[in-house]
Structures are given as C-alpha cells and as structure tokens.
Symmetry: D2
Subunit: 336 residues, 4 copies
C-alpha cells in the first residue's frame, strides 16, 4: 500500500516533512506541493521529484487520488485549509498551532469530526527520544505521582521582529510547545496559569507588546505544579530539558549534543554545547512524527496527537497571555 500525500507550505518545516515523506518513509508518495511562493513550491518539488507544484492549495486538496494533506502554511490559513481538506475527505496533518482563535479552532475540529477524517497536530517534541523516555518512566510508575514539572525551553536567538509581531506572542508561539509538553507528561487537566514576562533581550520585542523572557506556572487538577522558563536567547544554543519530581523519585533529561567529547585543560573540563536549534535537535523527532501519522492512516487508528490536543495548549496560551498582561493567575475556565 502506498499513501499519496500533498504538502501545503514549502517553508522551513514544509521542506522537512516533504523530504521525510519522500525519502525516509517508504510507504508514501508526495503527489503535490503548494506554496504562495511559486519558486519555493517548484524548487521543493524538483528536489524531491514531486510531480505537481502549485500556488493553489485547493489544487492539492482536490487531487482525486490524494489520501492526506500536510499543512505547513501560515497559521491563519490552517483553519480554512483544515475545513476544505476535511470536506474533501482527506486526512490531515496540521502544524501547531491550529489557530490562535478558539472559535475558529472549534469550527475546524467540527469539520474534521463531521467528515470523519483523521487530524494529527504537529507537536513534534512528543516524538523526541528524551521526552518519550520521560513520559515512559512516568507512565510506568517509576517516579510515582508527579508533583513538580520543570520545563526549560529556550531558543538560541530571537526570531525576526516581523515574525514576533505576527506570532500571537511568546506564550502562543513558543511556550505553546511547553504547554503541550506539560499535558503530554502529566495525565491531569491544567486548571490555572500564572505567567510572569519580562523584556531583557531586545527592547523592540517589548515595543511589539511581547516578552522575550518568561516564567509560567501551571496548576494541574491533581495539585501538581508545572513551571516553565522561557528565553528567546540562550546564547549557548537551544536548551530543551525537563525534570519531573514524583512521589517515588525524579526523572530529568539533558540536552543532545553533536558529540560527547570533553577536553580537560588547566582551565577546566570543556564539553559540547546543545545542538543549535529545533532543526538539529528534532531531526529524528520529525521523522518519527510523520512515521506515526502514516502508521495512523495505514492502520486506521486514532491519531496520537488529536485535534483536542491541538486545542488545549491554545487555551493555556491565551490564559498565560492574559495572566502576564493583567498580573494575576488566570483560570482556564475564564478562557473557555
């Protein structure tokens, strides 16, 4: 059996998914790629021998043989494309976030449900070997009941200001991955958020009404507490670690590095920095994610990262944004 897929969006992440589907997942064929920039679509199509390149995503979605679409275009296009694909009876992989507006997300999820197609949302970190291991350890009961979750999530450098302005703010753009991680690791609903944001790296980020440094506290219904620290600039690279304290022990993970060599000289021991950014750190996670999407379709099972999993972190992100602006903890029930 060969699955036929189309990719919408030929940017950084679209390229990764297209290449993984074309080269590393033998059961799939990429039939088409769309991008608002025709050159981008054409270049990607050529490099991977994809038959069709177009500026029109509908052309991809309506391809008669197509089994599924992989939506990697700008966030504001996600909802209409999900609805269009669902109505066309295509399965859908959509990059995070589904949308920054809850009502639109609900419309998208309703269309998916009505059409009976599968939707998987792109929270790639769930496929990282380190975080999988942390979850496995917790699920196996090795650390007992989770009490405290600590997530460190820092980028090596801030994005361009234009990106910042359109991003929906740090909590919906960056921390949203950590909100998903908080949900992935602990099986208890998040009920309240307190976010403290600062502008310490670039005043222009503050001028854009955003933060570049933030600490967010989440409360779970179980009483467990999660704390996330974010920075738009850890000068030593992409810092992505988690520690969970439970009633029977703790589990933590270190960063991945390009190698494990350490030099010792009279100044000290010198080891490697973390892998630079998400493309380097999550290379294997992106393959595993797409592999899982394809297996979900082939074996006709429920997606591992559902539409509801795509919606929930947006709710938390909206609450965090409100919390940081109003200087008070915000219950998720205020957002819903």
């Amino acid at each position: 059996m060969t699955l036929k897929l189309g990719v919408i969006g030929a940017g950084r992440i679209g390229k990764i998914h297209a290449e993984n589907l074309a080269r590393r997942i033998p059961e799939t064929t990429v039939l088409a790629v769309a991008d608002i920039d025709m050159m981008a679509a054409r270049n990607l199509a050529e490099s991977l021998s994809i038959p069709l390149a177009t500026v029109n995503p509908s052309e991809v979605i309506t391809l008669p043989d197509l089994d599924a679409v992989v939506i990697c275009s700008a966030t504001e296009t996600h909802t209409p494309l999900i609805i269009e694909a669902a109505r066309a009876g295509k399965h859908i992989f959509c990059e995070k976030p589904i949308d920054l507006d809850l009502q639109r997300i609900d419309e998208a999820l309703a269309a998916v449900e009505q059409a009976g197609v599968k939707l998987q949302v792109g929270f790639n970190r769930r496929y990282d070997a380190n975080f999988c291991q942390i979850r496995d350890v917790i699920q196996a009961g090795r650390i007992g009941e989770p009490h405290i979750v600590q997530i460190t999530s820092r980028d090596p450098a801030p994005p361009p200001l234009d990106y910042v302005r359109a991003s929906g703010g740090i909590f919906l753009d960056m921390t949203i991955h950590d909100f998903d991680m908080a949900r992935f690791l602990v099986d208890s609903p998040v009920t309240e958020v307190y976010a403290a944001g600062s502008v310490l790296i670039d005043p222009a980020i503050g001028d854009a009404d955003d933060f570049d440094t933030a600490v967010t506290t989440l409360r779970y219904a179980s009483g467990a507490i999660c704390v996330i620290n974010n920075s738009r600039q850890a000068v030593y690279g992409y810092d992505q670690t988690v520690e969970v304290l439970g009633s029977k022990g703790s589990v933590r993970t270190a960063n991945n590095t390009a190698h494990r060599a350490v030099v010792t000289d009279p100044e000290g021991e010198h080891g490697p920095i973390p892998l630079y950014f998400f493309l380097e750190r999550y290379t294997d996670a992106y393959i595993a994610e797409m592999r899982d999407f394809v297996d979900t379709l082939i074996h006709d099972r429920m997606p591992s990262v559902s539409g509801a999993d795509g919606r929930a972190p947006v709710v938390i992100g909206l609450a965090a944004t409100k919390s940081a602006r109003e200087g008070r903890p915000v219950k998720l029930s205020e957002i819903e």
Copy 2:
C-alpha cells in the same frame, strides 16, 4: 588572640556550631553553653570540655570575658536574646530566621545598631562551595546579566507535624533559605512574589494550614525572574541545586554525593544519590560560616550576612505566604 564565645541552644544546629568553634577554629574558645534542657547543655559541654553549662542564657550573655554569643535557640527567643546580648555589648551570630515578625526584627536590629555590636545571620548556604562558585561566576560577569534564576530546594522527608505547626509555614521555614539565595546571587531587589502551594505528600500538613509542595516566582527590579521549587519530600535525598541563565551564558550546579562511583550493568548506569540532608550537605559550609564570623570579629569588618540580609527574606516569606493564601502575586511594598 583568642575569642571567647558562648553558645545558646544545644540542639542540632547548636551542637554543630559549638563543635566547629571548639575543634576546628583554633582562635576561639567556647566558655559556656545554655539550653532549656539542662542535660542537653551538660552533655554538649562535657563532650567539648566547655567549662559552663546552664539553663539560663543570661548567664552566658553576662559572662564578663565573653566576646560573642551564638544564638541557636528557638526562633521566638531570637529577638529578646539579640537585644539582651547587644545591650551587654556582645557580638552576635543568630540562626535564621531572626524572627517571623517584622516589628520584632526591627527592634532587634535597632538594638544591635545602638550597641554598635556586630550581628551575623545564619544563612549557611552562602558558604557552600557550589553556590559560592555560582555567585563568583556571576560576579565575574561570565554569564552577563542574570535573566532567569532557578532554585531547586527539596528536603528528603517532612519534619514532624509539631515542627510544621510552629514553623511559620513552608515559606518562612524552608523557602526562606531560597529567598536568601535569590538575593545572594542577583544584585537587584526582589519586588514581587507569586507562590503556588499544594499538599501532595501528607494531608496532615494541609490540616496544619501549610503546604508541602510549592513553586514560587520572584521578580527582581531588574526584570530578572527567579523561580523556586520546593518539596518537603524528595525520596532520593536533599536536592539543592541552582541554575542561572544570563545574557552571555548560564551556570548551574549539581548536588554533592558521598562518592563519585558509577556502576553500569544491563539495566543502566547507576550513580549515587545526593547527600542525605543539610547536616551532610552543609558540613563544610557550617565551618566556613563560623570561620567567617570569627574573622569578622578578629578583623573588625562588616558581617558578610548582615541584619538587613536576615530581615529581607522574612519580608519575601511573608509576601509568599500571603500570595499562596490569596492566590495572587503580592508586592513586597504590601508587606513593609
């Protein structure tokens, strides 16, 4: 020159200070020890060849030759003993916290100032090699401006319930050390506190109107953010680590262990747990602390940990307590 000291309080911490003074700091002699339990005083005096044991702290304070007193008795006795010692012209080392009541602290500090004696407050972690190194790294500018401070501070097991009830609550008893650490590491005033507490370990602690698990967020005037996570029970031992992210890098410290041997077998790599509790972890810090107090007296210099340093964490602790109870961030200006 030999300094003559008296120790008030022959409990766990009084014993440590007395023994360090008697055995490890050659410039000092311990003349007397007082404790409400005469047997405790007598046993300690005998084991260290201290001439006088008494139930009456005034008897110690008024010894004519005495240079200084080391106050290790119950918290509620600190203020009257400080005032009495100051009026008697004795220098003072006082265990943390000075008091749980700001007005009483201010009375004690006023008495100290009026008498012109020196007062050092017992924040022993400032003398730990790991935390000293973190501070040195920051002071040397190696990580630039601090942006995020993460403090993990967990006990191996909860104290007895009687202790909990008299402790003033987790924020004034346990987190107070971390508030001091937050001030020790970053040279910017703390301005606001948000504390989220839970009862996850022992419901009886909740019945005592206290928490056993807490995450506290501090804001510094500089915009930097500190986050502290506390647990009354990390089953693997005393977990005392810090990480600071700055504009030019980060610095973190691991726990100390009894040895550095690691076994590798088919199940994995197995290394040692942290040293069990504060007596084990801070053995050297307690010596260095008393050494510093003695040097302060000998060289007639300002105490490294002043009365103001003793007062500030109590203000933060009161704010944290209020925050956790009222479910909102509390500015320190509300407490003063």
Copy 3:
C-alpha cells in the same frame, strides 16, 4: 552525475552499505548485488529496487557501466575480488580487514596501484562523531603532544564459535579496529606491541586457541604509549571510548546512548546504557563513510582511508597475536 555501484556480499554489513547508497546518498545508484546465498542477494535487491541479483561477483564487477564495487563478502575473498575489480578498472570500497595475510594484501594493493583505481578500506569508526572530535581536538593542538592513548573497546556478547574460529583471532578481528584508531589519533608510527590475553568469558573460545579478554600496549616512535582493553562481553552493551592525555590537557569521549534521561530514586541515579552494538552505535558513521567514498570518487581525490591504512593494522594485529602467544613484546619490524 550519478555514480553506479555494485555491492558484493549481502550480509549484515553489505545490507547497511547497500541501503545507505540506495536511500541516503542521492548521487548513487546500486546496479547489482552479489552473494553466495542467492536468496540473500535477491531479497536485498528487491527491498532496494536493485536491478540485478547474482551469486557471481564477477557478474557485478564486469557490468560495463559500473563505477565502483563495495566488497562486503568474507575476508578470504577480499584479495581476489580487489584484484579482479582493479583489473576491471573499477574503484573499490573494501571492508576491513583487507586480508589476514600480508603477502596477499601486498598483491591486492599492487593491483590497485597498477590499475590506478581508488581503494578505500572500511574503518567505519573514523567517521564516528565522537572519535572525529577527539582527532580534531588533537590535530588542533588543544592537548599538545599526545603522551598516553587509552582505548576501551568491548563487545556486548561474543560472536558464534564458528565465527571465532575463522576470525583470525581477537587481535585481527576485533582489536584491528582499535589499532586503526591508534593510528588515526596519533601521527607517529607504531613500532612495538605487547598483548596480554585471557579467556575469562567462554572456555570454548580458549579451546579455539583465541582470547576473549585482552590488554594490548602499543609504542609509537614518538615515545607515546597506547593501551587498548578489549572484552568480548561487556554485559551492559557496546563500550567504545577513547581518552588521550597530552602535554597540554586531555580529551575523552563517552558512549552514545538511546536517550539522555536519568531517573533518581532512593537507590541512586539511573541513566541509560550504551547503544547495543556497532549497528546502533555506528549508524551515522556508516552513512558518513559511504558519503566520503562517493565524494572521493566524485571529486577525484585521494581516499581518506587508503590501502596502506588497511594494511598497517594487520601488521599490528599479527604482531599482537605473536606477542600474546609468545608472552613478549614484538617489534613491528619482526612482522614486515
């Protein structure tokens, strides 16, 4: 430009090279695969859409369009196949060891030289990120002149006895990789070998006149000393590490692991074991190795791992074998 290659040998390592060439190196096409087991050849050919499967390696070598052959068949076939391929004007990648007999190696190398084709020998560890980093650190002068090289090289489990009997002994089968590493890391000829072997894991290995545990000391002309420790059975997995002490510092590398998560419980800290064996540990190294071979052909440059590099470790291995048997250090000049 597309390079056309044939693979001889469809066993474990042949499959890896064939798959890497077919799937991960876009500039190459695999035209044919040969194996003495026709089913093995056919299965590999089918799984990778290779047009020709045969039991006859000559059929591969004589394919008119073929640019190069990748020889992964049994060691005793290497020399005749190299000679045949060289005479047919094909470039050659040959797995280690070229041969266990120096005279035959010399005949093979002479044929290669006469034909003017390129020959690369399969010392895959030279392409491992950790060992590359060690070499880079040394080459950059960061640790000064090398004084002591320590190589730990242990398999997770002994090979089948049939394999042991045909292997040429531990020094020519297993330690040969470490002899190559010793040469890769230090730019000074090895001059003398002392090998101490024991049978501690399986008496049957001793019955086969071989060792399962060995410590080998190499002297370089520079005076530096290399010591290699081998075991056929490290029950925790494939242990492959190196440390080099130099005049200005040292450099070492740890093993790779499947993840970096660590659990801490009252028994200790528990981290992951090394990746199981060479297929897991050197996955990326095998790709990099074949990538380098292809680049060598495309850019018409000297092979990174030459015929002489393939010959030298065999000389050391013969000396080590002699040393272990005769219980004395053996100079390489005795072997040549």
Copy 4:
C-alpha cells in the same frame, strides 16, 4: 582511654598525620615529634601543643607511656625505626613504602612479628570514598568476577629532580600506590608485570635513569588483567580514577572537584578540574586512615593494611622496574 602517640618526621605527610591525630581524633594525644630538622620538629610541636620536640627518634620511641609511633621520615629510615619501635613494644604506623629492599622489609616484618606489635602501612588511597565504593561494589558481587582493571594515576607536576633521583624510580615511588590499588580491588595474586616507560615530559628525568610516563600491565592468577597508566604531569591536576569491568557489569569513579558548578557559554560547557594534588584529594582519606589505625589499637584487631600489604607492592614495583629496563614481562617469582 587515650592513646599516646609519637610522630617521627615533621615533613609534609608527618604534619598531616600529627594534625589529624591532635585535632580530629579525640581518643589520641601526641606526646612527641621528631625530625632531623629541629626547627621543623619544634614548629609542628608548637602549633599543635605537643610537649616534646626532638631530633632524635629514639627519644620518641622510648617514651615510657607511648603506645605507638607514626613513622613519616625518609624511606631509608623506615626499616631501622620499625625494628627499634617493635623491640620497644610500640605499635607502628609506617608510611609507604616500608623499604625499597625486600630483605630489609623482611627484617622489619620479622621484628614486628617477634615483638607481637601491630604494623599498619600508609596506603592512604584505600581510605578514599571513591575507591572504597569501588571495592564495596566488587566485594558485593555487583559486577561479578573482575576481568579488566584500569587505573589512571597522574600527578599534576613532576617532583624536584633530587626527589626523583632518590625515589627508587617511578614504579617504586608513584606506581606503588597503584599496585596497592590493584591488590586492594581484586582478591587474586598478581603474578606477572609488563611495564612500558617513556620520557616525554622532562629529559632530565630520563638522565636520572627514570621515566615520567608509563603504562604497566599486571596479570592476576585469576586471569584478570590490570592496566595502569601514569604520568608525572597531567597539566589539569591530579587524575586518580579507576574502572573495573566484571562479568556482570562495570564500575568506575570520576575525580573529585572543588565544586560542581558548570558554566555553559557559546564555546561549550565548562566544569571544574580535579582537586590539585594528594593533599587536596586525600584530605579525608588521611583522617580515615589514622582513624582506622587508632581503632585497630583500641579494639586490638588486625591492621587493615598489614606488613604483607606493604611488602607486596614493592615486589611488583621491583618487577615493573626490571620489566621496563629489560623490555619484557617479568614474573613476580623472579623477584622473590
């Protein structure tokens, strides 16, 4: 009960033992100290309030109340002092090595046996927490039967040339500690030694007919193999680590460091170097060693490190010296 001891030798190691006995072991009193340099004896006596200082060791040994002597004088004085002390009925702690001459050692041990006094030899590393843990792990059977022992033992800087010339050579001066470690960790006699020495650090050491870099291979009767690497100059500090591979796993230890703080910046992760030298690394081991000697006397038990334990590493050291000079493995039976 208070033990009365005398210290012979007020050099670096004599000072350590005297201070530990005087300050850290409450059950002991130091009655006298002797040194060929009267000022050294007097200074040490004064700093520790020791009643008698003398240039004459016999004056110490013959003190009527004395229970034991601690011999820390030059190696060539050990044998006559042991004999004199034994005849005077005093228990003896003697620094390593007992002597460099086997016949003299045997005379010393015979005198000890005849007198029925206790003799403990100063192999301080047996009291280091890391090495104790390694031994405990092995004794508990956690790694099964030992197969390979790796000892790294490197000084931060070479000793003065005068010291080198009188030292008996690297194997009897420095490696002797590692020979003792090899015996401490594995309960099987060493039977054969092969030592490869080089002069890579200071040609003057070679001129003194010694080596500054060495790799020594020991065979145990069990078939296990131990390999020791020594350097007189690891520029990053005192490197003292051990790894043991056994049939069920391995155990290794890292070095101790002054703190556990790590800085991460764009160049990498930067941790601390090992503690500088033996005084820093083995501070606690020296206390534990003297503590054990005192307990041995108080509880009238067999010394943990016996005269035979003092003799055996000298035999190995003589064999290693012969091996390095003659370029061949040497059986211990050749030395006896």
